[in-house]
Amino acid sequence: MLVVSAPVDDSGHEDPGHPERHDRVGAVMAGIDELGLGEDVKVAPLHRATRAELTRVHQAGYLDDLGAFCYGGGGDIDEDTYATYDSWSIATLAAGAGLAVVEELRRHDDGVGFVVTRPPGHHALRDRAMGFCLLNNIAVTAASLVAEGERVLIVDWDVHHGNGTQSIFWDDPNVLYVSTHQWPLFPGSGVPQEIGGPNALGTTVNLPVPPGATGDVLRGAIDLVAAPVIDQFAPTWVLVSAGFDAHRDDPMADLALTSGDFAQLAGLVGTFVPRKGRLAMFLEGGYDLDALRTSVAATLAQVLDAPYQSESATHGGPGEDAVARAQRERLVALRQQEASGPNAKDSP
């Protein structure tokens, strides 16, 4: 069973020519339709994130400023990020969508969730919008789960490092953040030495890979470096920042993945899910509409055990050495931090 977030008219959050656009949701929904799941698709109710839910991860002053900026007509926040008059309304629905999907998964105690919302969220910091993101959607859901006593694994396979999510949970021992991403690339963070704050050492796992890396490199990185950490962490929920801009056709980056690679990544992540109904994916990046459609279909087909003919998975690209180096650098950083004792350090 697939639980999808309630449809939202997000056409009001649009900037002509900008790659983060309304059509992306249509591509995702087309990918879901191709699976022919019929009545196995449940739609979660619409839920707008409350102020209490948002302030778990965002500063109140930032929320006030963002709301005022939108209702003042919006505009460009930075070179990448825009907001419109409608963006506050759309973004708060996007931020609440994961909560509704989680509730639906709990009610059925079964299924896989997919939060099909925009704008994306994983770059949004506690006090700042950036990288197309206004509110950190996955963080709102993760923080809510943590408040209920859950232990949350976030796997972020978007091609860009999820600096906002990492920063929000930097010192939270109840959230394990694992990111594969192209390096170097925006936002410039996500090196292996970033391992978490003094109260959460080791709960940030960064796996940067070079341009041209293929699917086997990313899977190997998760298997070799992250899987032992995940096993020890023992998550009770698994959330995925499911960006699809690591696809070889995506214009925003230079990795070489195919839809088949996303299927295999999803299969690997599925092995970390503790029980049925405890996996929810959140749309992040993905800007080539065909790649987005086929990658979403392949990903969901894998975790739902549905038939789908995806592209072949890729092998042999560069990055194996980068993964080995990441493992070494992470271990050295862990030893150094543990030896130096509690030492408050902000997330980069």
Partner: protein, 141 residues
Amino acid sequence: MTALQTIAVGFDGSADSTVAARWAFDLARRVGADVVLVHAVGLLGHLDRGTGALDLATLGQRLIEESSFNPERVRWHVADGDACSVLTRVMGDPVGADLLVVGTRGRGAHAGILIGSTSLELAQHATFPLVIIPREDPPPA
């Protein structure tokens, strides 16, 4: 107090960053420092939206000539990231700046609002010497 050796200036081609760069060149000439023009490449940099690298280099070259500053004492530092994150890192390698100079507003950001202000973010978070150069013309009332 040690002498200024390297002055970094945030430069994105905007009017405010141009004012900041002129101020940085003037200071550098007087104290005998080098200047590093720092440019952050955002998400859209991959699509070459907005001012492309070539345009920016041309703008920078023109500024250097206008300021009669020795071009051999100017470096570029172009790094992936949002402006605030990239500029926060200029004190470390490879830039090694002693002072950061920025304009009031960069490209895209709106005057009169707090959100999206790199200079405000830097002022709140900087643990290094920072100069924010006001714009030449006051914003319209």
